[in-house]
């Protein structure tokens, strides 16, 4: 059965609501290859596991797990350029409109860059409003370890940018 016939409305809604997050993760992990490669693989893996997704965890937890795990594994392989990737270039080329937040966006980007992958992942989920327990479900770290990491990230951020009002 075609995707558009059965699963599409729900799957499409999920992707539509989360494409920005997925795009961000793809860009973060794109090193030796294009971010489109990573995004393509993430979308494929999400689609593959969507049928078996029974709602045991929240959609955010499920999505973050697959997106992060796929990105980690992508660092170990290369993918050929396909028609789909050309289509994805349109999605990836989205840029933030300049505005009062653009300077803060730069701060966020620079700060993310300075973090190790696991801390950057925790920060993404934290900013997305996921609880320590949910972050723990995604990463497999103990919930209190996640809280310790978050407070360490906060301290690090404040030590770098405190008083840096933009």
């Amino acid at each position: 059965m075609a995707l558009s016939e059965v699963m599409d409305p729900t799957f499409e809604q999920i992707i539509n609501q989360n494409i920005g997050r997925l795009r961000y993760i793809a860009k973060r992990y794109a090193n030796d290859f294009d971010a489109e490669d990573v995004l393509q693989e993430i979308l494929m893996q999400l689609w593959r596991s969507f049928e078996s997704f029974k709602g045991d965890s929240s959609i955010s937890t499920w999505m973050y797990r697959i997106a992060l795990n796929t990105s980690i594994s992508m660092v170990r392989k290369s993918v050929k350029q396909s028609k789909l990737q050309i289509q994805l270039q349109g999605i990836m080329s989205y840029e933030i409109q300049p505005g009062p937040e653009s300077c803060q966006a730069e701060i966020l980007e620079n700060f993310m860059e300075s973090l190790k992958d696991i801390d950057a992942n925790i920060l993404m989920m934290y900013l997305d409003g996921l609880s320590s327990q949910s972050i723990s479900d995604v990463t497999g770290m103990a919930s209190n370890t996640v809280s310790v990491r978050i407070s360490r990230i906060k301290k690090l951020f404040e030590s770098k940018y405190i008083g840096n009002e933009s």
């Binding site: 995707l3 689609w47 497999g140 404040e158």
Partner: protein, 200 residues
């Protein structure tokens, strides 16, 4: 400026600016690409198994028409290899990726998978090269025998053995190189990622 101030920036950053039609296009392509990739994987797995299975009847047929005891022994080794090698390859693929698990579970499964691959490649001599080469060696050695059943070694046979030997050495060293250059660094990378998760 506090970290929580970045929540608004983050939500802007991940805000979708993609039209519904582009998402629909991408998703229909995802469906077809996934199908194509699954087919390719199934074909590759099938090819590995069918090559061995295709050779089995050939060896069996030869077994009933074997010119000597040495050849019979070689054919038995080849038949057992054609069963054992695909089973070993199939078993090594049984560790799933666990993409739906936590990062830790995923990394642990990747570590197990890599350790299996390293183990397979490091022992390629014992489970792949030795059975196949000894089977081929015995079979070809027994093709021409004298009336007492002793093998007649011709120059052509010696050249054939030399080519086989060079090929086996090449396969062995390529596997060894791949373990040292590719798989060991990957394993170290995964171990450091797991260690990163354990740091408080």
């Amino acid at each position: 400026m506090k970290l929580d101030d970045l929540r608004i920036v983050w939500s802007k950053e991940v805000e979708s600016e993609v039209s519904d039609s582009s998402i629909s296009n991408v998703l229909s392509m995802i469906e077809s690409e996934t199908g194509k990739m699954d087919k390719t994987i199934r074909r590759r797995d099938l090819l590995e198994t069918t090559t061995a299975l295709f050779l089995l009847p050939v060896w069996f047929w030869k077994l009933f028409d074997s010119p000597s005891m040495i050849s019979t022994l070689g054919l038995i080794v080849l038949i057992l290899s054609c069963i054992f090698i695909p089973v070993k390859l199939w078993k090594s693929k049984q560790v799933g990726n666990r993409l739906t698990g936590s990062t830790r579970d995923f990394l642990e499964s990747e570590r197990v998978k890599l350790e299996n691959q390293i183990g397979m490649l490091s022992s390629v001599f014992w489970w792949y090269l030795l059975p196949l080469s000894s089977g081929i060696f015995l079979f070809s050695l027994g093709v021409k025998v004298d009336i007492n059943g002793a093998p007649i070694i011709t120059n052509g046979l010696l050249v054939y053995y030399m080519i086989c030997f060079i090929f086996m050495v090449l396969v062995y060293y390529m596997n060894k190189r791949s373990v040292n250059k590719k798989f060991i660094p990957l394993l170290q990378q995964i171990n450091s990622q797991i260690k990163e998760l354990d740091e408080d």
